[in-house]
Structure formats: structure tokens, C-alpha cells
Symmetry: C2
Subunit: 169 residues, 2 copies
């Protein structure tokens, strides 16, 4: 799984698609498959950097989201919306972060249905250190050129917006 292949398997698939007569769909199929693979490569790199902190990317994202709020706390449901993952994924992440002493749960003062996730001092500290590591070891040199980064941001924002992720400005 680690040796480079002699040729790009996605380009190969694209040619196969064309040969079968799916000319219109060949390029979009290749683009979609490339996104899948790129996500996987990036995730592996990120998780590698986070491993020394005993964090996964999912838990890191939650921790960092909390660190950017005013009071270091957020309703579970709000975290779910902002991270755009299923509520059960948040429950799962919070369970583990709480077991590690990085966050705790508190009742919402107004709405008894709601649970607040709250950063602990340890959690805040770890969020900072993990972010420093990611900035240093991943985001300072992703492997994308500067122009590519701008293109990706634009193209993918348009896609996400059109897919209903967020309202048109």
C-alpha cells in the first residue's frame, strides 16, 4: 500500500470510462475520485501529527472549535452543526475527550434538554499545542502551490454552498 504505482490509477479509470462511452461522466468521475483519495492522504498526514497528542482529527476539530468560542463552551447540537457531523459523532468525541479530561459536560442554564461541552484548562492547552504542530508540520507545506490553494478554496466553497452547506451570502 506504500509503493508508488507506475501510473496514476485515477487517470487510468478516466480512460476506462471514456473507452466505455461515458465521455461526459469521465472527467467528473475522475475529479470526485481524486477528492476521495486526496482526503485520505491528508487525513493520514494529519493523524500522524496528532498521534503524539493522543488526538484524532475529529477530536482535534472539536477541541479547536471550543477554543475559538468566547467562553470555551458550546451546546452539543451547535458543535454538531458547525462541524457538520452527525450528533452521534459529537457524543462519541465528547465521551472520549471527557475521559481524557480535556472537556466536561455541563447542563444548559435555560434549556434542560441541552448539554454544554466545556473546555478544561488541559483541553485548552492541548488544543494550542496540537494546532502549533499542525501549522508547523502540515499547513506550512501541504504540497499545494499557493495558486492551487486559492483555486481549491474557491471551487470547493462554491460546491459546498451549492450542496446546501451554508446559505448564499
Amino acid at each position: 500500500m506504500d509503493q508508488p504505482l507506475p501510473r496514476d490509477p485515477i487517470a487510468e479509470a478516466q480512460r476506462n470510462w471514456q473507452r466505455r462511452g461515458w465521455e461526459q461522466q469521465a472527467a467528473p468521475m475522475a475529479a470526485v475520485t481524486a477528492i476521495m483519495r486526496t482526503q485520505q492522504l491528508l487525513m493520514l498526514r494529519i493523524e500522524g501529527v496528532l498521534r503524539p497528542f493522543a488526538l484524532t482529527f475529529a477530536r482535534y476539530e472539536l477541541l479547536t472549535l471550543l477554543a475559538f468560542t468566547r467562553r470555551g463552551e458550546l451546546p452539543m447540537s451547535r458543535a454538531s452543526s458547525l462541524l457538520q457531523v452527525h450528533p452521534t459523532s459529537v457524543t462519541n468525541a465528547v465521551d472520549r475527550l471527557q475521559a481524557a479530561g480535556l472537556v466536561d459536560r455541563a447542563p444548559h442554564p435555560m434549556d434542560r434538554r441541552t448539554t454544554l461541552v466545556r473546555l478544561t484548562p488541559d483541553g485548552r492547552d492541548l488544543a494550542r499545542r496540537a494546532t502549533d504542530a499542525l501549522n508547523r508540520d502540515v499547513f506550512s507545506d501541504t504540497g499545494f502551490e499557493a495558486d492551487d490553494v486559492e483555486h481549491l478554496i474557491r471551487i470547493l466553497a462554491r460546491f459546498r454552498q451549492q450542496a446546501g452547506d451554508f446559505a448564499a451570502e
Copy 2:
């Protein structure tokens, strides 16, 4: 998890990064996060289309890979390389596809370590029908403009190549 947010949470994160003084890393961070999210959105769409066929994307990919080989068969390890997933993921997928009667396992005639995965007639038929559905319901209108598709293919191919996915041509 389904209501659109009022603003783009990734653009928000990018601004937060800049405000904290990580100007250099802000845009790459946003690009990486956008790839993660886009992958998730695409995956949800694809799995939605495949659900009626009782296929997941992982199993679909294996089935289709086999359908594009000359004899409809491949060593497990070769499938692992071409799909660029861990060997255990292939074992897992083959177990389930085999239980569904879509593939079977056969010993390799030369190398007794090797197991061949082989498409059954049912498997070949389902691969064809699932591909038609994906071409019709996903790849004919991904939500990317034609120019974007070309950009993505180029940018992501460069990234994957540089990450060691495949050799320089």
C-alpha cells in the same frame, strides 16, 4: 445537521486563523478542511445512490475495478494497491461481496500465498447497473463546473503524485 448555516464555517475558521497570527497557514488550512468536507458530501451522495443496490462505495470500487480487468479477477494484494487502501480493507470488502454472491475467492495457480478475487456473473451485472446509476445520478451533474473539474483533476493529480501515490510519468 441538515439546515444550511448562515455563513461558511470554513471561511470563518480561516479568519480565525488569520486573527491569531497564522497568516501563512490560514489558506492551506481552509483548503484542506474544504477537501475533507467535500469528500464527506460526495460520499453521502454516492452512498445514497448505491444503497438500493446494497453496495457501499468501497465495495462498488472493488467490483468496478474487477469489471475493468481482462478476466474479471485480481490478486487481493493487487486490488489493495490499485484501490490504495489497506489490505485489511480489501479482506473486509471481499468477505461481504462474497457473502452476497458478487465475487468469489480462488487460489492463485502459481503462488500459494495469493488469493484471487473473481467477479461472479451476478457481480458483473450489478457493477454495470450501479455504474449506470452513478453516471446518471452523480457524475452527470456533480455540482462542479466543467472548468472546475479540469482544475481539480490537475491540482489533485499533482498533489497525489507528489505525495508518492504514483511515479512521475
